[in-house]
Amino acid sequence: MKLTVEQVRHVATLARLSLTPEEEERYATQLSAILDAVAQLQELDVSGVEPTSHATLASSLLREDVTRPSLPPEKSLANAPAKVGTSFAVPKILE
């Protein structure tokens, strides 16, 4: 399957990646080759087969619904690239 540069650009937008034109070209070629290789799965008939999302879990394990201590704000914010008070700061969205 041949991916176009436009498709690569669209996927990059979905993935929140700002690619350079060179990267778009390179990924169009490389991803096309990988998709050609994985197309081998299409030869298998899997109708009636249940999907496996986790190999060994029979069901989700849930914790008891009780409050527990969490990280204090100073620890949560310690690695923030920018912060204001006890909040993470990001560039303005609205003027």
Partner: protein, 486 residues
């Protein structure tokens, strides 16, 4: 013999007898690192002060007769994918440069509680995506058996540090073979436990349904010792299994007499190095001589495992790596025009080519119009692969295969050919898709002196039997005793 040439269990015995102190062992490791790591590049960063403080505390416990178990004082190191409180953790990515975790990953906490000083953080492929350690943002790691070659990946630093005798045990993670393949390429032993056997809490996620943290060491006994520390249920990880944990050292010497070992014909793949195949076949004969019965088995969907893995793992990665957006931690791009631009630029600057390639592939496989054809289809094929294993394990106790189809290749040889690189995982990744335990142990050397690995795969939570089978072979050979020429 130097102190660093000892195995983990040998050092533990010397610590127990008082012949050696933990401070002496830790200093010996630091000296060895200083001597060889300039060539190996196994460590991304050292925590010399923290390790020596832990060693002093261990010696004080020994002196007062209260050690924290049998491995108290044995120095270890961990892959940079494990969160370490107060010690920078980057997952070998630029996007996490400067990130200092506020807590320890559970496997790290367990090592500390066992009294084991942690020397530092080990090199790896960025976000564990790769099979050669060349996608590390901080430069590749080199194989101590031939420094022009890869030690494998993604846990390349964890394997190389052991082979270079810089440390007595390490932690790695295995999503598609990232513990076993580097173990095979460096003459070390690596165990990918059953999914859920070792906690993933605090282990930076790549593909959550496949990731398995596990031990690496120089001998089978050393890996069993580390499993004693690491295997337990963790309420902090909802995928951690509340399964019984055996004493992994107790049955190690039981041998293989009476066991049935399956030889899946699909694992002797086209293009396999003839010397690798010859060593593996020779190991199979050895098992027969030791009293095991070899059974020819078929896992017919093996040929679809690579395609299945390279749809599912990137799909999960594209979701997991969405959290690196420059808001809460790690790198943030400067001079951006608004929030969306900040996300895009941060991620473009922070991620390397292999990570971007897998995020793109995963995003595509999950996108509208392609989900059913790619992602859902791969999930269904995963079911068929699991069923193959279930049928095989109805006949045999374990499966024996090559770990890697080739020995260590030259650095740079495959770096521009993703498909060729992905083939390096062809023997290991079916095990991850099925959530099974897998172990790689040394089984020979090529004429050029490069290590060859043998893979054992077992039923869920049957790690003890894999270790026993591995030990039976190790006992007959000196492969795990050979020292890399560095």
């Amino acid at each position: 013999m130097q102190l660093t040439d000892l195995t983990l269990l040998e050092l533990a015995a010397k610590l127990a007898s008082g012949e050696v102190t933990s401070v002496e062992a830790t200093q010996a490791c630091l000296a060895r690192i200083s001597q060889v790591d300039g060539k190996v590049k196994a460590f991304l960063r050292l925590d010399e002060r923290g390790a020596l403080a832990a060693a002093e505390a261990s010696d004080a416990r020994r002196k007062s007769g209260n050690p924290h178990g049998p491995f108290d004082g044995v120095p270890v190191a961990v892959k940079d994918i494990f969160l370490t409180e107060g010690v920078e953790t980057t997952c070998a990515s630029r996007i996490l440069k400067g990130f200092v975790p506020p807590y320890d990953a559970t496997p790290v906490r367990l090592l500390k509680e066992a009294g084991m000083p942690i020397l530092g953080k080990l090199n790896q492929d960025e976000f564990a995506m790769g099979s050669s350690n060349e996608s590390s943002a901080y430069g590749p790691c080199h194989n101590p058996w031939d420094v022009t070659r890869t030690p494998g990946g993604s846990s390349g630093g964890s394997a190389a540090a052991l082979a270079a005798r810089e440390v007595f045990g390490t932690l790695g993670t295995d999503t598609g073979g990232s513990i076993r393949q580097p173990a095979a390429l460096t003459n070390t032993v690596g165990l990918k436990p059953t999914y859920g056997r070792v906690s993933r809490y605090g282990v930076i996620s790549y593909a959550s349904s496949l990731d398995a943290p596990g031990p690496m060491a120089r001998t089978v006994g050393d890996v069993a010792a580390l499993m004693k520390v690491l295997a337990r249920h963790d309420p902090l990880d909802s995928t951690s299994a509340p399964a019984d944990v055996p004493d992994y050292l107790a049955d190690l010497e039981q041998g293989v007499a009476g066991l049935k070992l399956g030889v899946p014909r699909e694992y002797f793949v086209e293009g396999m190095d003839p010397e690798v195949e010859a060593s593996v076949r020779s190991a199979l004969k050895e098992y027969e001589r030791l009293g095991a019965t070899l059974v020819d088995v078929s896992l017919p969907h093996t040929k679809y495992a690579l395609a299945t893995y390279y749809l599912l793992a990137p799909a999960e990665a594209s979701s997991n790596l969405a959290r690196y957006d420059g808001v809460r931690y790690g790198h943030r791009a400067r001079d951006v025009k608004g929030l969306k631009d900040m996300y895009g630029m941060t991620r473009d600057e922070g991620f390397g080519p292999e990570v971007k390639r897998r995020i793109m592939l995963g995003t595509y496989a999950l996108s509208a119009g392609y989900y059913d054809a790619y992602y859902l289809k791969a999930q269904k094929v995963r079911t068929l692969i699991r069923e193959d294993f279930t049928k095989a394990f109805a006949q045999v106790d374990a499966l024996v295969t090559p770990t890697s189809p080739v020995p260590a290749f030259k650095l740079g040889e495959k770096v521009n050919d993703p498909l060729s690189m992905y083939l390096m995982d062809v023997c290991t990744l079916p095990c991850n898709l099925a959530g099974l335990p897998g172990l790689s142990l040394p089984c020979g050397f090529t004429k050029a002196g490069l290590p060859i690995g043998l893979q054992l795969m077992g039923r869920p939570f049957d790690e003890a039997k894999l270790l026993r089978i591995a030990r039976a072979f190790e006992r007959e050979h000196d492969f795990t005793r050979r020292l890399a020429p560095i």
